[in-house]
């Protein structure tokens, strides 16, 4: 284990809040030199501390210094500039990884999951970055360690731990759209006691890309985040710590609705989101060979939405969503030999949900255990084998194995490869939803109760009858499939290179393939008398994503680092490919109205995936003068938006959104090692695409002041 080197690294970062202090380090080392030389440690890849350069799977680390240099305030901004990650909006902004939707990436804060995925996507702008030490991004399935949702990968947000001394930082930032970010951190550690406190207020007037719609793209909002960690060293081997997090956001907006009479009425929506968590834990070094962790995590997420008529304040609609997540977990790390570590863990998970569209408070329980063997049988060769079993109260148990290896062929060349299984459990919606659309008349039931609900509808005479038999129109095979819903899963393979041809240059490349099966889709299980259907869910689709991700980083000078990244991606629905091979998908030319049969080559793949994504970044950091700055460009190649010719697949030019570059610049100057002024422009070229790109508001300026408190 590399506990010492890790805390030394953390210390360096914490004492240099305003982008560093020259006097404390003899050589004017800049951030990127550090990246290439320090043994940067990550914890997400193996659930033990391991040097970033030695992990056998692809991991990206975004450091605190990079986050500060970018001028970022929310996690979405940070992740959106990383190679191979794509921030996409679908009931919230989440990250698309290796071409997989946001619901397939597990989001952790200090190793514990964030909850509140109302429709699959976890809104990443909920996470403030002011107290983040680093963000670790693991690509490829990690269900062998982390269980459900870690199918595409894992994003683990590592917050600051208490460091020796007393210090703090206050930061004010103001920018376009009346966006204000005010916050601070406090750190204390003396003898056995350590404490960190983080507070943040973030507000914005939002923005409107399509004024004609009468609706703001992002309505005004205000949120508060509080986060704290207390640690106490009980004896020289045992440490107790407890951390907590609270988040609240209020948002209000007006939207026009069309009533049944055809008139347009204004409705006001007031929405509140709350999220809280508590996480006590005990760690103990039983000996220099045995290390144990006991942790307990409880999290709650609540939303409330009230719609009222603007004219007279009478209610129009209201909804709520309450979720809890409770989990005790124990882990033992046993170092059999300096080059052989065994990790074993077990836990129990209890989740509840209560919401407007659910019958009653629903519960799910799951128990799991995992085992990992991290072994270096030869110099330069590291093998990690892991397996996890998740038993679940609502669906079939899941066994997730993974094998990965890394070999240092030459001092400047290493190869790594991994194969593993990932899974994503059916969510609450898919299991328990009970929703009937009052306007259109269709119904959607979660698979847990669809049989019972269909029987009820049949008894009430709400199902259409088969004219031939007089029996209700129920699709029995589909109903059977719905009742036996299981987790979505993938088999994934990653293989890549790490190259260090000169001390100034580092290149990495990774080929990936994700083979997805049992993807969950809606299915019409019965017909109602009103001509509408009763829907539930079933495992049906098969898809794959594959591609290449490359990164290069080059030190142009002692102060200047250039980096570039690129991802090539192909993502396709296997059922569609099969149909195309069979010649059973067609399209109609919109001008001649002639219908033709589609070829496999006409298929553009899954919607909302760019074949090409790239970024170029230049970071300048001169600690002697106190100046630093950055220029960052992020490219998203054209991607499919929606079907327009009725064949449901991506096949014609007008179904794509044009590719675009976003350029961001920032500059900062630190005075007297205490005051840092920063100013920046995001989206310098003012690129917008109102119809298709709700997340890009146009050019944004900001300026901030950071004051470091405590001894300098």
């Amino acid at each position: 284990m590399h506990r010492f080197s890790s805390s030394a690294f953390l210390l360096v970062l914490v004492v240099s809040p305003g982008l560093g202090i020259a006097q404390q380090r003899p050589a004017p080392a800049d951030t990127s030199t550090q990246h290439l030389r320090l043994r940067e440690v990550v914890v997400t890849a193996t659930r033990t501390e391991k040097a970033l350069t030695e992990v056998p799977i692809p991991v990206t680390v975004v450091s605190r210094q990079q986050i500060q240099a970018m001028g970022a305030v929310r996690l979405t901004e940070v992740l959106g500039e990383q190679t191979g990650l794509n921030v996409v909006a679908d009931h919230g902004r989440g990250v698309q990884m290796q071409g997989l939707n946001p619901e397939y990436t597990l989001i952790l804060v200090d190793g514990e999951p964030l909850i509140g995925r109302t429709a699959g996507t976890l809104e990443l702008s909920r996470v403030a970055v002011g107290n983040i030490e680093r963000v670790e991004v693991v690509k490829g399935p990690a269900s062998a360690l982390w269980g459900s949702e870690a199918l595409a990968g894992v994003v683990n947000i590592i917050t600051q731990k208490p460091q020796h001394g007393t210090r703090g930082e206050v930061r004010l930032r103001y920018g376009a759209n009346r966006t204000a970010d005010v916050g601070g951190t406090f750190n204390y550690r003396h003898n056995q006691l350590g404490l960190t406190v983080f507070g943040n207020r973030y507000s914005s007037a939002g923005y409107t890309l399509q004024p004609a719609s009468g609706q703001a793209t992002v309505p005004p909002f205000t949120n508060y985040t509080g986060q704290s960690r207390l640690s106490y060293q009980l004896d020289d081997k045992t440490t107790f710590s407890v951390s907590g997090r609270y988040f609240i956001e209020d948002q209000a907006s007006n939207l026009p609705i069309t009533t049944e009479g055809g008139q347009v009425a204004q409705v006001r929506l007031k929405a509140r989101q709350q999220e809280s968590s508590l996480n006590p834990s005990v760690t103990r070094c039983f000996s220099d060979k045995l290390f144990g962790t006991l942790r307990f995590y409880h999290a709650g997420y609540r939303t409330k939405e009230d719609y009222t008529y603007t004219a007279d304040g009478t209610p129009y609609d209201a909804s709520y969503f309450h979720q809890t997540f409770t989990r005790p977990e124990a882990q033992l790390d046993w170092r059999l030999h300096p080059k052989h570590t065994l990790t074993v863990g077990t836990g129990y998970l209890w989740e509840t949900v209560e919401a407007t569209r659910y019958d009653q408070r629903q519960q799910m329980r799951s128990a799991y255990c995992y085992l990992q063997d991290d072994w270096s049988p030869l110099p330069g060769l590291n093998l990690v084998a892991g397996v996890r079993y998740d038993g679940h109260s609502q669906y079939q148990g899941q066994l997730s194995p993974k094998l990965s290896g890394r070999y240092q062929l030459r001092p400047w060349l290493a190869v790594r490869a991994s194969a593993g299984r990932g899974f994503r459990a059916p969510d609450f919606r898919q299991l328990y939803l009970n929703f009937s659309n009052p306007a259109v008349g269709y119904s959607v039931f979660g698979t847990h109760q669809v049989r019972e609900k269909v029987a009820q509808l049949a008894a009430q005479g709400q199902l259409a009858l088969d004219p031939a038999t007089g029996q209700p129109l129920i699709n029995a095979p589909l109903l059977e499939q719905a009742s036996s819903l299981t987790a979505e899963s993938s088999r994934a393979y990653n293989a890549g290179l790490q190259l260090d041809p000169t001390p100034k240059l580092r290149l990495t490349a990774n080929l990936f393939h994700n083979d997805l099966r049992d993807l969950i889709e809606t299915a019409a299980v019965a017909q109602k008398t009103n001509g509408q259907s009763v829907y539930s869910y079933r495992n049906v689709s098969r898809a794959y994503t594959q591609g290449l991700e490359t990164d290069a980083r080059y030190l142009l000078s002692a102060h200047l680092t250039l980096s570039a990244g690129y991802q090539y991606l192909v993502a396709k629905d296997r059922n569609v490919v099969t149909q195309l091979k069979n010649g059973s998908i067609y399209r109609r030319d919109p001008e001649t109205l002639e219908t033709t049969r589609l070829k496999v080559a006409d298929y553009g793949g899954l919607f909302n995936r760019s074949r090409h994504m790239a970024n170029v970044k230049l970071f300048y950091d001169n600690q002697a003068t106190g100046w630093s700055g950055s220029v960052r460009g992020v490219y998203r190649g054209r991607y499919g938006f929606q079907d327009r010719n009725g064949n449901l697949i991506l096949d014609t030019g007008n179904e794509y959104v044009a590719g675009y570059w976003l350029w961001n610049v920032s500059a900062a100057k630190t005075f007297r090692q205490r005051y840092t002024l920063q100013a920046g422009l995001d989206n310098v070229l003012n690129y917008t695409d109102p119809a298709y790109l709700s997340t890009v508001p146009g050019r944004l300026y900001y300026a901030s002041l950071t004051v470091a408190l405590g001894p300098r």
């Binding site: 069309t258 109205l593 929606q642 009725g646 064949n647």
Partner: protein
Amino acid sequence: MNQLFSRFALLTLSGAVLTLSACSNDDNDDNEVKPAEALKTEMASNLGPTPASTTTPPTGQPATPRHYAFYNLATKSEVPYTDSATTKWDIAVRTTTILVNGGSSGPGQGGAIVQDGLFSEITAAPATGYNVDSRTAYAIPTGSGKGWYNYNSTTHVVSPIAGKVILLRTATGKYAKLEIVSYYKDAPASPTGTEPRGYYTFRYVYQPDGSTNLK
């Protein structure tokens, strides 16, 4: 790039207008039925009943019309709704529902089969297996993805599914094949969902001699 895009849109639009005027010319041809050896592909444009005056949420489109629009494939012409109880019509449309003259819909021998394939490749009609309208299900099923169209719940656009050919037995027991190509007035190249809807443009081949040959 935006400029390029709009230029492209303009081109497609003007293209659509040209095609349309060609279609209407076809329609204005003499309405006599020619007992020809080589069957002619006919094009019917904008078949749809007069819309109601009120609008429906959330699309702002006119509400469902009171009557269907009736059509006779042999005479290539619309039939007044007052003739709905006769065998003068073969198909009738209202919003996304299509009736054939038989079963619960009319006194004729009408039936239909929705088949996958290319219009040009289907050269013969099956002699049997035709579905007939009943009180609970139509011969040409309604619903997105079930029959002849897909509905996009985000844009509210109804798109006729390419590769769906409707094989018809007409009111008088003749055979025909039919392909719906647009659901919007004047068959816009890329409908946005706001155009007047419920106006069927379709091509068809009608076999007047009573045989199943549709070549």
